[in-house]
C-alpha cells in the first residue's frame, strides 16, 4: 500500500515536471504562431500558389482517370482527395524546411544559436516546437478552411480510421521534423547550406508522395523507398485516409513511424552534441 502511494507520488511528480517543461516549449510554438499572423500579403500570395497547383493537378487527373479508370488502386475520387490534401501539405513542407533547416542556418550565422545555448532548454526541442507553431498556424488558417471549401465545391472523401490517420499525420510531422533538423545541422560543416536545403526540399516533395502517389513510381524505386523514412511523412498517412490500408496495416504504419521518429531524433540529438563542439566563434 505504502509502496504504491510512493510510486504514484513519484509518477505524479514526474508528470508535473514534464508538464512544466512542455509548457515552456509550447510557448515557443506560440511565438512562431503569433509571428506568422503578422504577414498578411504573404498569406494571400501563398494561398493563390496553392490553389493554382491544386486546380491544375485536379484537371490533369480528371483527364487521365476518365470513365471510371483506376491506376494502381487510385480512382478519380481518390485522386481528387489526394491532390487537395497534397496541395495543402506543401505548406507543411515549406514550414519544416523554413522553420527548422533554414532557421538553424540563420541562427548559426547571427549568433542567435549561442543565445539559445545559454538557456537551460533543449535546442532540438526548441527548434521542433518552433516549427509546430507554424504548423498549427497553417492548419487553422489555411488547411482547414481550404479543405472545407474544396469539400463543398469539388468533394472530398471522408477519412477511414480517422484516429489512426490523425496519429499517423502527427508522427509523420515528427519524422519530417527529424529529417529537417538533421539537414539543418549541415550548417556546422559547410559555410552555406542553401543548396542542400533546396535539394532536400525537392527530394522530400518527390519521395513523400506530395507530387503523385508513390505506387505510381517504377517498382525498383517503390521498393527502395520502403527502406527510407520519406514515405511516412505523407504517403502512408494518406493511404490510411483513403482506406487503402486496413486497420492492422494502419497500426503497423504507426509502429514503423514511431521507430523512425525515435531513430531520427536520436541521430539528431547525438549529431547536434557533436556539432556544437565544432563551433568556432571569432571576435574577441
Amino acid at each position: 500500500m505504502r509502496v504504491s502511494i510512493l510510486i504514484s507520488l513519484f509518477v505524479m511528480e514526474n508528470l508535473r515536471k514534464s508538464w512544466r517543461h512542455l509548457r515552456i516549449y509550447i510557448r515557443f510554438s506560440k511565438i512562431r504562431f503569433v509571428d506568422k499572423l503578422s504577414y498578411r500579403a504573404h498569406f494571400f500570395l501563398v494561398l493563390t500558389e496553392y490553389l493554382l497547383i491544386v486546380i491544375v493537378s485536379y484537371f490533369l487527373w480528371k483527364a487521365i482517370l476518365t470513365d471510371g479508370r483506376v491506376i494502381r488502386g487510385y480512382s478519380l475520387k481518390d485522386m481528387v482527395t489526394y491532390v487537395a490534401i497534397a496541395g495543402v501539405f506543401r505548406f507543411f513542407i515549406n514550414e519544416f524546411s523554413g522553420a527548422i533547416s533554414r532557421e538553424m542556418g540563420g541562427q548559426y550565422r547571427t549568433g542567435e544559436l549561442i543565445m539559445n545555448l545559454l538557456k537551460p532548454v533543449s535546442y532540438q526541442l526548441y527548434i521542433y516546437f518552433h516549427a509546430f507553431g507554424g504548423i498549427l498556424f497553417h492548419s487553422v488558417f489555411r488547411i482547414v478552411p481550404v479543405l472545407t471549401l474544396w469539400a463543398l465545391l469539388v468533394g472530398l472523401t471522408a477519412p477511414d480510421h480517422l484516429a489512426i490517420f490523425l496519429t499517423s499525420l502527427v508522427l509523420g510531422a515528427l519524422v519530417h521534423a527529424g529529417i529537417a533538423f538533421l539537414v539543418g545541422l549541415t550548417i556546422f560543416y559547410v559555410e552555406d547550406n542553401s543548396g542542400i536545403l533546396h535539394a532536400t526540399s525537392a527530394i522530400i516533395e518527390l519521395l513523400s508522395g506530395t507530387l503523385i502517389p508513390l505506387v505510381m513510381y517504377p517498382a525498383w524505386l517503390v521498393s527502395t523507398m520502403n527502406y527510407l523514412p520519406f514515405r511516412f511523412i505523407f504517403y502512408q498517412p494518406m493511404e490510411i485516409y483513403l482506406g487503402h490500408l486496413g486497420k492492422e496495416a494502419g497500426i503497423a504504419v504507426l509502429c514503423a513511424q514511431t521507430v523512425w521518429v525515435f531513430a531520427l531524433s536520436t541521430a539528431g540529438y547525438f549529431l547536434f552534441k557533436n556539432s556544437i563542439q565544432k563551433i568556432t566563434i571569432q571576435g574577441g
Binding site: R20, I114, M115, L117, P120, V121, Q277, I281, Q282
Partner: protein, 332 residues
C-alpha cells in the same frame, strides 16, 4: 574547492586561409590551407565565491573565448574547467541554470517578441516564482529604467535600451555566477554608473560571483578587487590592479610653470638630486620626472618655491590606463 577552476586551459581554432583574388578563390575550391590559432594558451586560475574578477586584455587576446568556454558554448581543446562543480560544455543545461550571461555585443533575448514576453518566458524557463519575478522587475526598473521598454519588440530597441533589457534578463533568476562581457558598451554615463552601483550592490548583498570583461578600465577600478590580464592567449597579470598601479607606475611627473625664463641647468643645480629627468615644454614651463619611491615630491616643490616664482604646479598621477599599457608592453 574554488567556485571556478580553470586548469591548463587551451583552445585552438582551425581557420581556413583565404587566398586573394579570383585565382585565389579558385585555388581555394581545390585545396584549402588551414591555419591554427591559439586563442587561449595554457591558462590556469581559480575564482572564489563572492569575488568580482576583472578580465581584461587587448582586442583578440582571448577574453571572449575564455568566457565562452566558461559558459559552456565552446569546448576546450585541452585542460579542465569546472564551474560550481559542473563541467560547462558537458553539462550545459544544468550549468546555464546557475549562471547569468550578458554579451554587450549580442542580444540574449528572442528577437521577435516584446521584452515583457521574453521576460515571462525566462521566468518559466528558470522557474522563478511570480512573486520573485515582480520584485526583480521592480528592482530592475529602478536601476535600469526598463519600465517603458517592456512592451516594445526586442528588434526595435536601440543598443542602449537593448543592453539594459539584456542585463535585466540575465539576472532575472538571481544566478550565483554572472559573466558580463562588455556590459556597458554603448551606454550613457548615467546608466553606466547605475549599472556599476547595481553590480556592486548585488555582489555585496547576494555574494554573487562576477566575472567582468571590459575595455572601460574605470569599471574595473570601481568594481574589481582582482584583475586578470590576458594577452595573446596567456595570462600576464593576476592580482590587484590598484597595487599594480602603485608598484608598476612608480614614475611620477611634476609640471611646473614659472614667471621667469627657465634655465634647466640652474634648476638642476638648485635641486641637486641625481635621478631627476627634465623635459622643457616651453620657455616658462617644464616637466620633472622621478621615481616616487626614492624621491618625495614635497622636496622638489619646496626647493622650487624657495628659489623661483612658480605660477602653477601640477603633479601627474599615473592613470590605470597607463598601468595596463605598461603591463602590455612589458609582456612584449
Amino acid at each position: 574547492m574554488a567556485l571556478i577552476e580553470v586548469e591548463t586551459l587551451t583552445k585552438t581554432f582551425k581557420i581556413s586561409k583565404r587566398r586573394e583574388g579570383l585565382s585565389g578563390a579558385l585555388m581555394n575550391l581545390v585545396k584549402r590551407e588551414y591555419q591554427f590559432v591559439q586563442a587561449v594558451d595554457n591558462i590556469s586560475f581559480h575564482v572564489e565565491q563572492g569575488e568580482t574578477l576583472g578580465y581584461i586584455g587587448p582586442n583578440g587576446a582571448g577574453k571572449s573565448t575564455t568566457i565562452k568556454i566558461l559558459t559552456g558554448i565552446l569546448t576546450p581543446t585541452e585542460g579542465r574547467v569546472e564551474v560550481n562543480g559542473l563541467v560547462p560544455h558537458k553539462q550545459r543545461r544544468q550549468h546555464v541554470k546557475n549562471i547569468g550571461v550578458v554579451f554587450g555585443q549580442r542580444s540574449q533575448l528572442w528577437w521577435d517578441i516584446a521584452v515583457i514576453e521574453a521576460f515571462t518566458l525566462l521566468r518559466d524557463i528558470y522557474e522563478v516564482s511570480k512573486n520573485d519575478f515582480q520584485k526583480q522587475l521592480k528592482k530592475f526598473d529602478e536601476v535600469l529604467e526598463i519600465g517603458p521598454l517592456l512592451h516594445i519588440p526586442v528588434r526595435k530597441l536601440s543598443l542602449g535600451q537593448r543592453v539594459r533589457c539584456d542585463i535585466a534578463a540575465s539576472l532575472l533568476h538571481n544566478p550565483p555566477v554572472v559573466f558580463l562581457d562588455e556590459p556597458t558598451i554603448g551606454l550613457d554615463v548615467a546608466v553606466k554608473s547605475n549599472i556599476r552601483e547595481f553590480i556592486k550592490e548585488m555582489n555585496a548583498s547576494l555574494g554573487t560571483t562576477i566575472i567582468l570583461t571590459t575595455h572601460d578600465l574605470s569599471d574595473i577600478e570601481y568594481l574589481c578587487q582582482r584583475t586578470l590580464i590576458i594577452d595573446q592567449g596567456k595570462i600576464i597579470f593576476d592580482g590587484d590592479l590598484e597595487k599594480a598601479k602603485n608598484e608598476l607606475a612608480r614614475k611620477r611627473k611634476i609640471q611646473i610653470d614659472l614667471y621667469e625664463h627657465i634655465d634647466i641647468d640652474v634648476i638642476r643645480e638648485k635641486l641637486n638630486i641625481a635621478q631627476l629627468e627634465f623635459t622643457k615644454r616651453n620657455d616658462y614651463s617644464l616637466t620633472i620626472s622621478f621615481d616616487k619611491n626614492e624621491i618625495s615630491a614635497i622636496n622638489i616643490i619646496q626647493t622650487i618655491l624657495d628659489h623661483f616664482h612658480p605660477r602653477d604646479m601640477k603633479i601627474e598621477e599615473p592613470t590605470i590606463e597607463a598601468v595596463v599599457k605598461e603591463i602590455y608592453s612589458e609582456d612584449i
